[in-house]
Symmetry: C2
Subunit: 299 residues, 2 copies
Protein backbone atom coordinates (compact mmCIF):
# COMPACT_ATOMS: atom_id res chain seq x y z
CA UNK A 1 0.00 0.00 0.00
CA UNK A 2 1.33 3.43 -0.85
CA UNK A 3 0.90 6.10 1.80
CA UNK A 4 1.61 9.29 -0.14
CA UNK A 5 1.21 12.31 2.09
CA UNK A 6 -1.96 14.10 1.06
CA UNK A 7 -4.31 16.75 2.33
CA UNK A 8 -7.30 14.99 3.87
CA UNK A 9 -10.53 16.76 4.82
CA UNK A 10 -12.35 15.58 7.91
CA UNK A 11 -15.97 16.67 8.13
CA UNK A 12 -17.06 16.69 11.76
CA UNK A 13 -20.66 15.49 12.05
CA UNK A 14 -20.75 14.89 15.82
CA UNK A 15 -23.04 17.83 16.67
CA UNK A 16 -25.59 16.44 14.18
CA UNK A 17 -25.16 12.71 13.44
CA UNK A 18 -23.64 12.12 16.86
CA UNK A 19 -26.04 14.04 19.10
CA UNK A 20 -29.17 13.04 17.16
CA UNK A 21 -28.56 9.44 18.19
CA UNK A 22 -27.96 10.21 21.85
CA UNK A 23 -30.76 9.99 24.39
CA UNK A 24 -29.41 12.91 26.44
CA UNK A 25 -30.47 16.45 25.49
CA UNK A 26 -27.36 18.60 25.60
CA UNK A 27 -28.34 22.15 26.67
CA UNK A 28 -28.10 24.71 23.87
CA UNK A 29 -25.38 26.73 25.59
CA UNK A 30 -23.23 23.59 25.93
CA UNK A 31 -23.71 22.69 22.28
CA UNK A 32 -22.63 26.18 21.29
CA UNK A 33 -19.61 26.11 23.62
CA UNK A 34 -18.59 22.70 22.25
CA UNK A 35 -18.93 23.73 18.60
CA UNK A 36 -16.98 26.91 19.34
CA UNK A 37 -14.16 24.81 20.83
CA UNK A 38 -14.10 22.61 17.74
CA UNK A 39 -13.99 25.71 15.53
CA UNK A 40 -10.51 26.37 16.93
CA UNK A 41 -9.05 22.88 16.46
CA UNK A 42 -8.25 23.27 12.77
CA UNK A 43 -11.37 21.40 11.63
CA UNK A 44 -12.53 23.11 8.44
CA UNK A 45 -16.06 21.70 8.37
CA UNK A 46 -18.65 21.30 11.10
CA UNK A 47 -22.14 19.96 10.60
CA UNK A 48 -23.66 21.76 13.55
CA UNK A 49 -27.29 20.67 13.66
CA UNK A 50 -30.33 19.42 11.75
CA UNK A 51 -33.41 21.29 10.57
CA UNK A 52 -35.45 18.12 10.40
CA UNK A 53 -38.67 18.74 12.39
CA UNK A 54 -37.97 18.53 16.18
CA UNK A 55 -40.75 15.95 16.45
CA UNK A 56 -38.38 13.49 14.74
CA UNK A 57 -35.13 14.62 16.36
CA UNK A 58 -35.87 16.10 19.78
CA UNK A 59 -32.14 16.13 20.65
CA UNK A 60 -31.67 18.85 18.03
CA UNK A 61 -34.88 20.81 18.66
CA UNK A 62 -32.72 23.90 19.28
CA UNK A 63 -31.31 23.95 15.73
CA UNK A 64 -31.97 27.64 15.07
CA UNK A 65 -30.59 28.75 18.43
CA UNK A 66 -27.43 26.65 17.99
CA UNK A 67 -26.77 27.65 14.39
CA UNK A 68 -27.45 31.32 15.10
CA UNK A 69 -25.51 31.32 18.37
CA UNK A 70 -22.15 29.82 17.39
CA UNK A 71 -19.04 31.78 16.60
CA UNK A 72 -18.09 31.98 12.90
CA UNK A 73 -14.40 31.26 12.52
CA UNK A 74 -13.03 32.26 9.11
CA UNK A 75 -12.13 29.23 7.02
CA UNK A 76 -14.64 26.96 8.76
CA UNK A 77 -17.79 25.87 6.93
CA UNK A 78 -20.86 25.57 9.18
CA UNK A 79 -23.31 23.10 7.69
CA UNK A 80 -26.65 21.63 8.72
CA UNK A 81 -28.98 18.87 7.61
CA UNK A 82 -32.04 20.22 5.81
CA UNK A 83 -34.94 18.00 4.71
CA UNK A 84 -37.02 20.38 2.59
CA UNK A 85 -37.87 23.98 1.69
CA UNK A 86 -39.40 24.62 5.10
CA UNK A 87 -36.25 23.40 6.86
CA UNK A 88 -34.21 25.54 4.50
CA UNK A 89 -36.06 28.67 5.60
CA UNK A 90 -35.09 28.01 9.20
CA UNK A 91 -31.50 27.15 8.19
CA UNK A 92 -31.16 30.38 6.22
CA UNK A 93 -32.55 32.39 9.10
CA UNK A 94 -29.78 30.89 11.24
CA UNK A 95 -27.04 31.79 8.72
CA UNK A 96 -25.93 28.28 7.75
CA UNK A 97 -23.07 28.17 5.16
CA UNK A 98 -23.85 24.83 3.62
CA UNK A 99 -26.97 22.71 3.43
CA UNK A 100 -27.01 18.91 3.46
CA UNK A 101 -29.86 17.12 1.73
CA UNK A 102 -30.33 13.40 2.08
CA UNK A 103 -31.97 10.25 0.82
CA UNK A 104 -31.29 6.51 0.78
CA UNK A 105 -29.96 4.30 -1.96
CA UNK A 106 -32.47 1.61 -0.97
CA UNK A 107 -36.21 2.19 -1.39
CA UNK A 108 -37.38 0.68 1.90
CA UNK A 109 -34.94 2.65 4.06
CA UNK A 110 -35.92 5.83 2.25
CA UNK A 111 -39.61 5.18 2.90
CA UNK A 112 -39.01 4.34 6.57
CA UNK A 113 -36.72 7.35 7.08
CA UNK A 114 -38.43 10.04 4.98
CA UNK A 115 -41.92 8.55 4.59
CA UNK A 116 -41.65 8.93 0.82
CA UNK A 117 -40.42 6.85 -2.09
CA UNK A 118 -37.13 7.83 -3.67
CA UNK A 119 -38.99 9.16 -6.73
CA UNK A 120 -41.15 11.34 -4.48
CA UNK A 121 -38.02 12.52 -2.63
CA UNK A 122 -36.08 13.73 -5.67
CA UNK A 123 -38.24 16.83 -6.43
CA UNK A 124 -38.15 17.88 -2.76
CA UNK A 125 -34.36 17.70 -2.69
CA UNK A 126 -34.16 19.44 -6.08
CA UNK A 127 -36.30 22.31 -4.80
CA UNK A 128 -34.28 22.58 -1.58
CA UNK A 129 -31.02 22.51 -3.51
CA UNK A 130 -32.20 25.09 -6.03
CA UNK A 131 -33.39 27.48 -3.33
CA UNK A 132 -30.21 27.02 -1.29
CA UNK A 133 -28.02 27.71 -4.32
CA UNK A 134 -30.16 30.74 -5.14
CA UNK A 135 -29.53 31.99 -1.59
CA UNK A 136 -25.78 31.67 -2.23
CA UNK A 137 -25.28 28.52 -0.15
CA UNK A 138 -23.48 25.37 -1.23
CA UNK A 139 -25.25 22.02 -0.93
CA UNK A 140 -24.01 18.59 0.07
CA UNK A 141 -25.88 15.34 -0.60
CA UNK A 142 -25.99 12.33 1.72
CA UNK A 143 -26.75 8.91 0.34
CA UNK A 144 -27.68 6.42 3.07
CA UNK A 145 -27.51 2.60 2.90
CA UNK A 146 -24.88 2.61 0.13
CA UNK A 147 -23.31 -0.62 1.41
CA UNK A 148 -26.38 -2.37 2.79
CA UNK A 149 -29.93 -1.74 3.95
CA UNK A 150 -31.39 -2.93 7.26
CA UNK A 151 -34.61 -3.90 5.45
CA UNK A 152 -33.46 -5.04 2.00
CA UNK A 153 -29.97 -6.37 2.69
CA UNK A 154 -27.69 -5.92 -0.32
CA UNK A 155 -28.04 -2.67 -2.27
CA UNK A 156 -27.49 -2.63 -6.04
CA UNK A 157 -24.68 -0.39 -7.22
CA UNK A 158 -27.09 0.87 -9.91
CA UNK A 159 -29.24 2.37 -7.16
CA UNK A 160 -26.23 4.14 -5.68
CA UNK A 161 -25.29 5.50 -9.09
CA UNK A 162 -28.83 6.64 -9.80
CA UNK A 163 -29.23 8.69 -6.60
CA UNK A 164 -25.66 10.04 -6.82
CA UNK A 165 -26.30 11.10 -10.41
CA UNK A 166 -29.55 12.75 -9.40
CA UNK A 167 -27.93 14.68 -6.55
CA UNK A 168 -25.06 15.93 -8.69
CA UNK A 169 -27.49 16.98 -11.43
CA UNK A 170 -29.42 19.00 -8.84
CA UNK A 171 -26.21 20.90 -8.16
CA UNK A 172 -24.81 19.44 -4.93
CA UNK A 173 -21.05 19.96 -4.71
CA UNK A 174 -20.30 16.64 -3.00
CA UNK A 175 -22.04 13.35 -2.29
CA UNK A 176 -21.31 11.60 1.00
CA UNK A 177 -21.61 7.82 0.68
CA UNK A 178 -23.02 6.43 3.92
CA UNK A 179 -22.52 2.98 5.40
CA UNK A 180 -25.52 3.74 7.58
CA UNK A 181 -25.65 0.40 9.38
CA UNK A 182 -21.91 -0.28 9.36
CA UNK A 183 -21.90 -3.52 7.37
CA UNK A 184 -19.27 -2.70 4.76
CA UNK A 185 -15.88 -4.35 4.78
CA UNK A 186 -12.81 -3.29 2.82
CA UNK A 187 -13.34 -5.57 -0.17
CA UNK A 188 -16.85 -4.20 -0.71
CA UNK A 189 -15.67 -0.63 -0.27
CA UNK A 190 -13.01 -1.21 -2.90
CA UNK A 191 -15.47 -2.86 -5.30
CA UNK A 192 -18.05 -0.07 -4.90
CA UNK A 193 -15.45 2.68 -5.32
CA UNK A 194 -13.97 0.96 -8.37
CA UNK A 195 -17.34 1.34 -10.06
CA UNK A 196 -18.20 4.81 -8.78
CA UNK A 197 -14.81 6.35 -9.53
CA UNK A 198 -15.19 5.41 -13.19
CA UNK A 199 -18.23 7.66 -13.26
CA UNK A 200 -17.58 10.35 -10.65
CA UNK A 201 -14.37 12.21 -9.77
CA UNK A 202 -13.00 11.41 -6.28
CA UNK A 203 -13.35 15.02 -5.17
CA UNK A 204 -17.12 14.86 -5.70
CA UNK A 205 -17.42 12.00 -3.18
CA UNK A 206 -16.92 11.62 0.56
CA UNK A 207 -16.99 8.51 2.75
CA UNK A 208 -19.29 8.28 5.77
CA UNK A 209 -18.56 5.13 7.75
CA UNK A 210 -20.33 3.89 10.85
CA UNK A 211 -18.27 1.55 13.02
CA UNK A 212 -21.03 -0.88 13.96
CA UNK A 213 -18.92 -3.95 13.25
CA UNK A 214 -15.49 -2.42 13.80
CA UNK A 215 -14.72 -2.10 10.08
CA UNK A 216 -14.67 1.69 9.75
CA UNK A 217 -10.93 2.23 10.13
CA UNK A 218 -10.04 -0.53 7.67
CA UNK A 219 -12.65 0.91 5.29
CA UNK A 220 -11.03 4.33 5.52
CA UNK A 221 -7.66 2.75 4.78
CA UNK A 222 -8.85 1.11 1.58
CA UNK A 223 -10.73 4.30 0.60
CA UNK A 224 -7.50 6.28 0.98
CA UNK A 225 -5.78 3.80 -1.27
CA UNK A 226 -8.55 4.31 -3.85
CA UNK A 227 -7.86 8.05 -3.84
CA UNK A 228 -10.59 9.32 -1.53
CA UNK A 229 -9.69 12.41 0.50
CA UNK A 230 -12.83 13.42 2.41
CA UNK A 231 -14.19 11.54 5.43
CA UNK A 232 -17.09 12.21 7.79
CA UNK A 233 -16.55 11.43 11.48
CA UNK A 234 -17.88 12.20 14.93
CA UNK A 235 -15.74 13.38 17.84
CA UNK A 236 -15.29 10.71 20.50
CA UNK A 237 -17.44 8.34 18.47
CA UNK A 238 -20.56 10.14 19.69
CA UNK A 239 -23.80 8.64 18.51
CA UNK A 240 -24.42 5.01 17.92
CA UNK A 241 -27.44 3.43 19.41
CA UNK A 242 -28.70 4.88 22.70
CA UNK A 243 -30.26 1.51 23.59
CA UNK A 244 -27.04 -0.46 23.23
CA UNK A 245 -24.35 0.98 25.49
CA UNK A 246 -21.05 0.78 23.67
CA UNK A 247 -22.55 0.24 20.23
CA UNK A 248 -20.64 2.34 17.76
CA UNK A 249 -21.89 5.25 15.70
CA UNK A 250 -19.80 7.20 13.24
CA UNK A 251 -16.10 6.50 13.05
CA UNK A 252 -14.50 8.61 15.81
CA UNK A 253 -12.74 11.77 14.66
CA UNK A 254 -10.01 11.35 17.27
CA UNK A 255 -9.27 7.74 16.25
CA UNK A 256 -9.37 8.69 12.57
CA UNK A 257 -6.91 11.49 13.25
CA UNK A 258 -4.52 9.06 14.96
CA UNK A 259 -4.41 6.92 11.85
CA UNK A 260 -4.25 9.74 9.33
CA UNK A 261 -1.41 11.49 11.12
CA UNK A 262 0.37 8.16 11.53
CA UNK A 263 0.10 7.66 7.78
CA UNK A 264 1.67 11.07 7.24
CA UNK A 265 -1.52 12.70 5.98
CA UNK A 266 -2.17 16.39 6.51
CA UNK A 267 -5.43 17.30 8.21
CA UNK A 268 -4.64 20.70 9.67
CA UNK A 269 -6.20 19.52 12.93
CA UNK A 270 -4.61 19.84 16.37
CA UNK A 271 -5.10 16.53 18.19
CA UNK A 272 -4.67 18.01 21.67
CA UNK A 273 -7.22 20.73 21.14
CA UNK A 274 -9.55 18.11 19.72
CA UNK A 275 -9.12 15.99 22.85
CA UNK A 276 -9.99 18.97 25.03
CA UNK A 277 -13.21 19.40 23.06
CA UNK A 278 -13.92 15.67 23.44
CA UNK A 279 -13.43 15.84 27.21
CA UNK A 280 -15.80 18.82 27.33
CA UNK A 281 -18.68 17.07 25.55
CA UNK A 282 -18.00 13.85 27.47
CA UNK A 283 -18.63 15.70 30.71
CA UNK A 284 -21.87 17.11 29.31
CA UNK A 285 -22.99 13.67 28.14
CA UNK A 286 -22.37 12.25 31.60
CA UNK A 287 -20.91 9.00 30.26
CA UNK A 288 -17.57 7.88 28.80
CA UNK A 289 -17.23 8.52 25.10
CA UNK A 290 -16.62 5.29 23.22
CA UNK A 291 -13.76 6.24 20.91
CA UNK A 292 -10.61 4.22 21.47
CA UNK A 293 -8.57 7.38 21.87
CA UNK A 294 -10.84 8.68 24.63
CA UNK A 295 -10.76 5.34 26.43
CA UNK A 296 -6.99 5.16 26.09
CA UNK A 297 -6.43 8.73 27.31
CA UNK A 298 -8.35 8.00 30.50
CA UNK A 299 -6.90 4.51 31.13
CA UNK B 1 -5.40 -3.75 -2.72
CA UNK B 2 -5.61 -7.36 -3.84
CA UNK B 3 -7.81 -9.64 -1.79
CA UNK B 4 -6.76 -13.08 -2.99
CA UNK B 5 -8.66 -15.78 -1.11
CA UNK B 6 -6.25 -17.45 1.29
CA UNK B 7 -6.29 -19.73 4.25
CA UNK B 8 -5.90 -17.58 7.37
CA UNK B 9 -5.15 -18.98 10.81
CA UNK B 10 -6.73 -17.30 13.81
CA UNK B 11 -5.10 -18.11 17.13
CA UNK B 12 -7.62 -17.57 19.92
CA UNK B 13 -5.92 -16.09 22.97
CA UNK B 14 -9.02 -15.01 24.90
CA UNK B 15 -8.74 -17.64 27.67
CA UNK B 16 -5.21 -16.40 28.37
CA UNK B 17 -4.53 -12.84 27.15
CA UNK B 18 -8.19 -11.93 27.54
CA UNK B 19 -8.96 -13.36 30.97
CA UNK B 20 -5.62 -12.42 32.50
CA UNK B 21 -6.56 -8.77 32.03
CA UNK B 22 -10.02 -9.10 33.53
CA UNK B 23 -10.71 -8.36 37.17
CA UNK B 24 -13.36 -11.09 37.44
CA UNK B 25 -12.25 -14.63 38.31
CA UNK B 26 -14.13 -16.97 36.00
CA UNK B 27 -14.77 -20.26 37.81
CA UNK B 28 -12.70 -23.18 36.51
CA UNK B 29 -15.73 -25.15 35.33
CA UNK B 30 -16.92 -22.17 33.29
CA UNK B 31 -13.50 -21.70 31.71
CA UNK B 32 -13.48 -25.35 30.73
CA UNK B 33 -17.02 -25.20 29.35
CA UNK B 34 -16.15 -22.08 27.35
CA UNK B 35 -12.96 -23.53 25.90
CA UNK B 36 -14.84 -26.73 25.02
CA UNK B 37 -17.42 -24.66 23.13
CA UNK B 38 -14.67 -22.88 21.22
CA UNK B 39 -13.08 -26.24 20.37
CA UNK B 40 -16.12 -26.96 18.22
CA UNK B 41 -16.24 -23.67 16.30
CA UNK B 42 -13.55 -24.57 13.78
CA UNK B 43 -10.82 -22.65 15.62
CA UNK B 44 -7.62 -24.66 15.19
CA UNK B 45 -5.61 -23.03 17.98
CA UNK B 46 -6.56 -22.09 21.52
CA UNK B 47 -4.21 -20.59 24.06
CA UNK B 48 -6.06 -21.87 27.08
CA UNK B 49 -4.17 -20.52 30.09
CA UNK B 50 -0.88 -19.31 31.52
CA UNK B 51 1.60 -21.08 33.78
CA UNK B 52 3.04 -17.84 35.02
CA UNK B 53 2.98 -17.94 38.85
CA UNK B 54 -0.58 -17.31 40.16
CA UNK B 55 0.82 -14.54 42.34
CA UNK B 56 1.20 -12.48 39.15
CA UNK B 57 -1.95 -13.64 37.34
CA UNK B 58 -4.57 -14.62 39.92
CA UNK B 59 -7.26 -14.80 37.21
CA UNK B 60 -5.47 -17.86 35.82
CA UNK B 61 -4.47 -19.51 39.10
CA UNK B 62 -6.33 -22.64 37.98
CA UNK B 63 -4.05 -23.23 34.97
CA UNK B 64 -3.42 -26.91 35.66
CA UNK B 65 -7.07 -27.69 36.34
CA UNK B 66 -8.19 -25.89 33.18
CA UNK B 67 -5.55 -27.39 30.91
CA UNK B 68 -6.07 -30.88 32.30
CA UNK B 69 -9.84 -30.61 32.33
CA UNK B 70 -10.66 -29.48 28.80
CA UNK B 71 -11.77 -31.74 25.98
CA UNK B 72 -9.14 -32.47 23.31
CA UNK B 73 -10.70 -32.08 19.88
CA UNK B 74 -8.58 -33.58 17.09
CA UNK B 75 -7.07 -30.91 14.87
CA UNK B 76 -7.07 -28.28 17.62
CA UNK B 77 -3.79 -27.20 19.22
CA UNK B 78 -4.07 -26.39 22.94
CA UNK B 79 -1.35 -23.96 23.95
CA UNK B 80 -0.38 -22.15 27.13
CA UNK B 81 1.96 -19.39 28.19
CA UNK B 82 5.01 -20.73 30.03
CA UNK B 83 7.62 -18.46 31.66
CA UNK B 84 10.33 -20.94 32.63
CA UNK B 85 11.29 -24.56 33.36
CA UNK B 86 9.16 -24.66 36.48
CA UNK B 87 6.10 -23.45 34.55
CA UNK B 88 6.88 -26.01 31.88
CA UNK B 89 6.69 -28.84 34.41
CA UNK B 90 3.16 -27.79 35.34
CA UNK B 91 2.22 -27.33 31.68
CA UNK B 92 3.49 -30.79 30.77
CA UNK B 93 1.62 -32.33 33.69
CA UNK B 94 -1.53 -30.77 32.26
CA UNK B 95 -0.87 -32.16 28.74
CA UNK B 96 -0.40 -28.90 26.87
CA UNK B 97 0.32 -29.32 23.10
CA UNK B 98 2.27 -26.16 22.54
CA UNK B 99 4.21 -23.88 24.83
CA UNK B 100 4.47 -20.10 24.39
CA UNK B 101 7.55 -18.35 25.71
CA UNK B 102 7.77 -14.57 25.81
CA UNK B 103 9.93 -11.52 26.14
CA UNK B 104 9.86 -7.88 25.09
CA UNK B 105 11.66 -6.12 22.28
CA UNK B 106 12.31 -3.17 24.58
CA UNK B 107 14.58 -3.54 27.61
CA UNK B 108 12.50 -1.54 30.11
CA UNK B 109 9.27 -3.37 29.39
CA UNK B 110 11.08 -6.70 29.70
CA UNK B 111 12.50 -5.70 33.08
CA UNK B 112 9.13 -4.46 34.34
CA UNK B 113 7.30 -7.52 33.03
CA UNK B 114 9.77 -10.33 33.75
CA UNK B 115 12.03 -8.66 36.32
CA UNK B 116 15.07 -9.53 34.22
CA UNK B 117 17.04 -7.93 31.42
CA UNK B 118 16.60 -9.33 27.94
CA UNK B 119 20.08 -10.88 28.12
CA UNK B 120 19.14 -12.61 31.38
CA UNK B 121 15.86 -13.77 29.83
CA UNK B 122 17.34 -15.49 26.77
CA UNK B 123 18.88 -18.50 28.60
CA UNK B 124 15.65 -19.08 30.54
CA UNK B 125 13.63 -19.15 27.34
CA UNK B 126 16.28 -21.31 25.65
CA UNK B 127 16.10 -23.84 28.47
CA UNK B 128 12.29 -23.85 28.44
CA UNK B 129 12.23 -24.26 24.68
CA UNK B 130 14.82 -27.04 24.72
CA UNK B 131 12.97 -28.98 27.42
CA UNK B 132 9.61 -28.50 25.70
CA UNK B 133 10.99 -29.70 22.37
CA UNK B 134 12.59 -32.68 24.16
CA UNK B 135 9.16 -33.50 25.59
CA UNK B 136 7.76 -33.52 22.04
CA UNK B 137 5.96 -30.19 22.28
CA UNK B 138 6.15 -27.34 19.80
CA UNK B 139 7.07 -23.87 21.04
CA UNK B 140 5.81 -20.43 20.07
CA UNK B 141 7.58 -17.16 20.91
CA UNK B 142 5.89 -13.88 21.80
CA UNK B 143 7.70 -10.62 21.30
CA UNK B 144 6.05 -7.76 23.18
CA UNK B 145 6.36 -4.01 22.47
CA UNK B 146 7.33 -4.55 18.81
CA UNK B 147 5.67 -1.31 17.74
CA UNK B 148 6.22 0.79 20.83
CA UNK B 149 7.05 0.58 24.52
CA UNK B 150 5.09 2.28 27.30
CA UNK B 151 8.39 3.24 28.98
CA UNK B 152 10.79 3.84 26.09
CA UNK B 153 8.47 5.00 23.32
CA UNK B 154 9.81 4.04 19.91
CA UNK B 155 11.41 0.59 19.61
CA UNK B 156 14.31 0.04 17.22
CA UNK B 157 13.70 -2.54 14.50
CA UNK B 158 17.15 -3.95 15.33
CA UNK B 159 15.83 -4.92 18.76
CA UNK B 160 12.87 -6.70 17.19
CA UNK B 161 15.17 -8.55 14.80
CA UNK B 162 17.56 -9.51 17.59
CA UNK B 163 14.92 -11.11 19.83
CA UNK B 164 13.14 -12.72 16.86
CA UNK B 165 16.44 -14.18 15.69
CA UNK B 166 17.16 -15.46 19.18
CA UNK B 167 13.75 -17.13 19.51
CA UNK B 168 13.99 -18.83 16.12
CA UNK B 169 17.51 -20.04 16.92
CA UNK B 170 16.19 -21.58 20.14
CA UNK B 171 13.76 -23.59 18.02
CA UNK B 172 10.41 -21.84 18.28
CA UNK B 173 8.22 -22.58 15.28
CA UNK B 174 6.61 -19.15 15.10
CA UNK B 175 7.16 -15.69 16.52
CA UNK B 176 4.10 -13.60 17.37
CA UNK B 177 4.79 -9.87 16.98
CA UNK B 178 2.88 -7.98 19.65
CA UNK B 179 1.62 -4.43 19.57
CA UNK B 180 1.28 -4.68 23.32
CA UNK B 181 0.04 -1.14 23.94
CA UNK B 182 -1.85 -0.73 20.67
CA UNK B 183 0.07 2.20 19.23
CA UNK B 184 0.86 0.88 15.76
CA UNK B 185 -0.84 2.28 12.69
CA UNK B 186 -0.83 0.77 9.20
CA UNK B 187 2.14 2.66 7.83
CA UNK B 188 4.34 1.51 10.71
CA UNK B 189 3.09 -2.06 10.38
CA UNK B 190 3.98 -2.01 6.70
CA UNK B 191 7.41 -0.51 7.36
CA UNK B 192 8.23 -3.03 10.10
CA UNK B 193 7.03 -5.98 8.04
CA UNK B 194 8.96 -4.78 4.99
CA UNK B 195 12.15 -5.12 7.03
CA UNK B 196 11.26 -8.32 8.87
CA UNK B 197 10.02 -10.19 5.79
CA UNK B 198 13.38 -9.70 4.12
CA UNK B 199 14.89 -11.71 6.95
CA UNK B 200 12.13 -14.10 8.07
CA UNK B 201 9.56 -16.04 6.03
CA UNK B 202 5.96 -14.90 6.55
CA UNK B 203 4.94 -18.33 7.86
CA UNK B 204 7.36 -17.95 10.79
CA UNK B 205 5.59 -14.79 11.96
CA UNK B 206 2.18 -13.98 13.41
CA UNK B 207 0.57 -10.62 14.21
CA UNK B 208 -0.76 -9.86 17.68
CA UNK B 209 -2.62 -6.54 17.69
CA UNK B 210 -4.23 -4.78 20.61
CA UNK B 211 -6.98 -2.35 19.69
CA UNK B 212 -6.16 0.38 22.20
CA UNK B 213 -6.45 3.18 19.66
CA UNK B 214 -8.81 1.48 17.23
CA UNK B 215 -6.09 0.64 14.71
CA UNK B 216 -6.11 -3.16 14.98
CA UNK B 217 -8.42 -3.91 12.05
CA UNK B 218 -6.60 -1.55 9.69
CA UNK B 219 -3.33 -3.09 10.87
CA UNK B 220 -4.61 -6.57 10.04
CA UNK B 221 -5.62 -5.35 6.60
CA UNK B 222 -2.17 -4.04 5.77
CA UNK B 223 -0.58 -7.18 7.25
CA UNK B 224 -2.73 -9.32 4.96
CA UNK B 225 -1.53 -7.28 2.03
CA UNK B 226 2.06 -7.90 3.13
CA UNK B 227 1.42 -11.65 3.03
CA UNK B 228 0.80 -12.42 6.69
CA UNK B 229 -1.61 -15.29 7.33
CA UNK B 230 -1.66 -15.82 11.12
CA UNK B 231 -3.38 -13.48 13.58
CA UNK B 232 -3.92 -13.64 17.34
CA UNK B 233 -7.27 -12.44 18.68
CA UNK B 234 -9.56 -12.67 21.67
CA UNK B 235 -13.23 -13.63 21.50
CA UNK B 236 -15.56 -10.68 22.13
CA UNK B 237 -12.53 -8.44 22.62
CA UNK B 238 -12.06 -9.85 26.13
CA UNK B 239 -9.26 -8.28 28.08
CA UNK B 240 -8.19 -4.71 27.85
CA UNK B 241 -7.75 -2.76 30.98
CA UNK B 242 -10.01 -3.69 33.91
CA UNK B 243 -9.69 -0.15 35.27
CA UNK B 244 -10.94 1.53 32.10
CA UNK B 245 -14.37 0.21 31.15
CA UNK B 246 -14.52 -0.05 27.38
CA UNK B 247 -10.78 0.16 26.84
CA UNK B 248 -9.82 -2.36 24.22
CA UNK B 249 -7.63 -5.41 24.60
CA UNK B 250 -6.77 -7.82 21.80
CA UNK B 251 -8.51 -7.41 18.49
CA UNK B 252 -11.83 -9.26 18.81
CA UNK B 253 -12.00 -12.66 17.11
CA UNK B 254 -15.61 -12.10 16.06
CA UNK B 255 -14.87 -8.70 14.47
CA UNK B 256 -11.76 -10.10 12.79
CA UNK B 257 -13.82 -12.97 11.40
CA UNK B 258 -16.35 -10.52 9.94
CA UNK B 259 -13.62 -8.80 7.97
CA UNK B 260 -11.76 -11.92 6.92
CA UNK B 261 -14.89 -13.63 5.64
CA UNK B 262 -15.95 -10.40 3.91
CA UNK B 263 -12.57 -10.36 2.17
CA UNK B 264 -13.18 -13.91 0.98
CA UNK B 265 -10.55 -15.46 3.25
CA UNK B 266 -10.93 -19.00 4.54
CA UNK B 267 -10.72 -19.45 8.29
CA UNK B 268 -12.64 -22.69 8.80
CA UNK B 269 -14.49 -20.99 11.66
CA UNK B 270 -18.27 -20.98 12.10
CA UNK B 271 -19.32 -17.45 13.03
CA UNK B 272 -22.61 -18.50 14.63
CA UNK B 273 -21.01 -21.09 16.89
CA UNK B 274 -18.40 -18.52 17.79
CA UNK B 275 -21.12 -16.04 18.76
CA UNK B 276 -22.74 -18.65 20.99
CA UNK B 277 -19.42 -19.09 22.78
CA UNK B 278 -19.11 -15.31 23.09
CA UNK B 279 -22.57 -15.04 24.64
CA UNK B 280 -21.63 -17.79 27.09
CA UNK B 281 -18.51 -16.08 28.41
CA UNK B 282 -20.26 -12.70 28.40
CA UNK B 283 -22.83 -14.08 30.82
CA UNK B 284 -20.04 -15.42 33.04
CA UNK B 285 -18.21 -12.08 32.97
CA UNK B 286 -21.38 -10.28 34.02
CA UNK B 287 -20.77 -7.36 31.67
CA UNK B 288 -21.20 -6.66 27.96
CA UNK B 289 -18.27 -7.80 25.85
CA UNK B 290 -16.76 -4.90 23.96
CA UNK B 291 -16.37 -6.32 20.48
CA UNK B 292 -18.35 -4.48 17.84
CA UNK B 293 -19.99 -7.70 16.70
CA UNK B 294 -21.23 -8.47 20.21
CA UNK B 295 -22.56 -4.93 20.66
CA UNK B 296 -24.23 -5.06 17.24
CA UNK B 297 -25.80 -8.47 17.83
CA UNK B 298 -27.48 -7.20 20.99
CA UNK B 299 -28.52 -3.78 19.66
Amino acid sequence: MKFDPKKITIKEVGPRDGLQNESVFVPTADKIAWINQMSHTGLSYLEVTSFVHPKWIPALADAVEVAAGIERVPGVTYAALVPNAKGLERALSARIDEVSVFLSASETHNVKNINKSREETFPILAETTRDALAAGKSVRGYVSTVFGCPYEGAVAIEDVIRVTDALLEMGVSEVSLGDTIGVAQPRQVQEVLEVLLKRFPADKLAMHFHDTRGMAMANVLVSLEMGMTTFDSSLGGLGGCPYAPGASGNIATDDLLYMLHGLGMETGIDGEKLQTAALFIQEKMGRPLMSHSMQACQA
